[in-house]
């Protein structure tokens, strides 16, 4: 087998990696917003639940979480297929880290903005979505970009719960060919290229937001 023949299984694996990564980034972002806003809630029950979730997932290793959901949870009668488990755990982890980003950005909005919103008699949800969030979301983007790449790197671990992603394909290729250097170099390059694409996408979203998509000016001026 020459190195070009390695590409077929590796590309097949890369597809799975991209799919899992994108799915868990999108789901993770949604969880991040829900948990991040909940963390700033005045209701102690809501903010307490969000706090517990964030601490639990940020404080334990991803691999332990994956194995726990894959090997341990079925013993109490809850089981999912590997792909669902992988996406679920990765989204929950990214969501926990993202929640702190969302919370930090929301808290960084100047207090005068809240005072002005209250003076104008805006409702709480209107203030959040039309005053705080448009300013905060731009501040979140660089951190979200880092989280997206971190998430991509973390997807390599799902190969350990039998998902045929890029790392898994690399492992099986190595076991067949014993040509470790070529296989793993190609795999690392594959991840690097996907990471670069991810960074470009996140940059584009950030630029779009900066150009004012997040500020619905036309609504009021």
């Amino acid at each position: 087998m020459t190195w070009s023949q390695y590409l077929v299984p590796l590309l097949k694996g890369a597809q799975i990696t991209v799919m899992i990564s994108l799915a868990s980034i999108v789901l993770g972002a949604i969880i991040a917003f829900v948990a991040g806003i909940a963390r700033t809630s005045a209701n102690p029950v809501i903010s307490g639940i969000a706090f517990t979730y964030v601490v639990l997932f940020r404080g334990t290793p991803l691999l332990v979480q994956l194995f726990w959901f894959y090997y341990a949870l079925p013993l109490v009668g809850v089981s999912f297929d590997p792909i669902t488990t992988g996406i679920m755990v990765l989204s929950l982890l990214t969501g926990a880290f993202g929640a702190e980003v969302v919370r930090g950005a929301l808290l960084a909005v100047p207090p005068q903005q809240h005072e002005a919103a209250r003076a104008l008699n805006f409702s709480k949800s209107y203030t959040l979505w039309h005053i705080s969030m448009p300013q905060a979301i731009i501040e979140m983007m660089p951190a979200f970009g880092n989280l997206a790449v971190q998430n991509l790197k973390d997807t390599a671990l799902v190969s350990l719960i039998s998902i045929a992603d890029l790392t898994f394909q690399a492992q099986s290729l190595r076991n067949i060919t014993l040509d470790s250097a070529t296989v793993y170099t190609l795999t690392l390059l594959g991840y690097f290229i996907i990471a670069l694409c991810l960074m470009v996408i996140m940059r584009l979203i950030e630029m779009k937001l900066r150009r004012g998509a997040a500020f619905p000016r036309s609504a009021h001026s």
């Binding site: 601490v55 639990l56 940020r58 404080g59 334990t60 290793p61 991803l62 691999l63 332990v64 979480q65 194995f67 726990w68 090997y71 341990a72 949870l73 013993l75 109490v76 790449v149 991509l152 790197k153 973390d154 997807t155 390599a156 671990l157 190969s159 350990l160 790392t167 690399a170 492992q171 190595r174 470790s180 250097a181 793993y184 170099t185 795999t187 690392l188 991840y191 690097f192 990471a195 670069l196």
Partner: protein, 230 residues
Amino acid sequence: MMYGYEWDTTTTLSFALSILPILGIGLLVTLQAAAVGYAIALVLGLVLALLRRSRFKAISWTVACFTEFVRDTPLLVQLFFLYYVLPDFGIILPAFMTGALALGLQYSAYTSEVYRGGINAVPRGQWEAATALNLTRLQTYRDIVVPQMIPRIVPALGNYLVSMLKETPVLSVVTVLDMLGLANMIGERTFDYLVPLSMVGLIFLPMTLICSALIHLVERALPKSGIPLR
């Protein structure tokens, strides 16, 4: 047949207690791996950061590319790379050392950025003043740059220590018997994964929380103006 004292493993709690000593041994390995890996990351990161400042474009550019590449590729694949490729070149390390090396390599890419940021944060005027005062390069670094750098880089370096601690379980994949490796082994033998895996999570949680709190304390204790080395 072996005779002797037998652990009572009939209830969940007694089972959890019975495996605690085994996990304790794994915890020691986990901490050792993190310590060795972190030492490598601190030193290698500094070397990378200084090379990045090299006057020779070829060196600084190569180091920049290497750092970016290591930062953006998964630890697990880097670990496999080292574990399977190094022996092909005649370098045979124990799995533990390979693992610690992989951890150190990945985090050296992070720490080098921290050092670089710390050095770059020293205002240009101070470099110029150092030149005007005819300070040597060593004096500039020892008396001007590093004392101001320390309070700036400690929080970031501390955060990477915590995240490295949380990535050590990956080493169990290349047969290092850390906490997760042992928990999996207990799971295989007793068909009960729930208790050992939950225990590992429950041991990690306070560990990372305490580490974060300690770093926060150190961060608070450091004077913002800098620490004189002499």
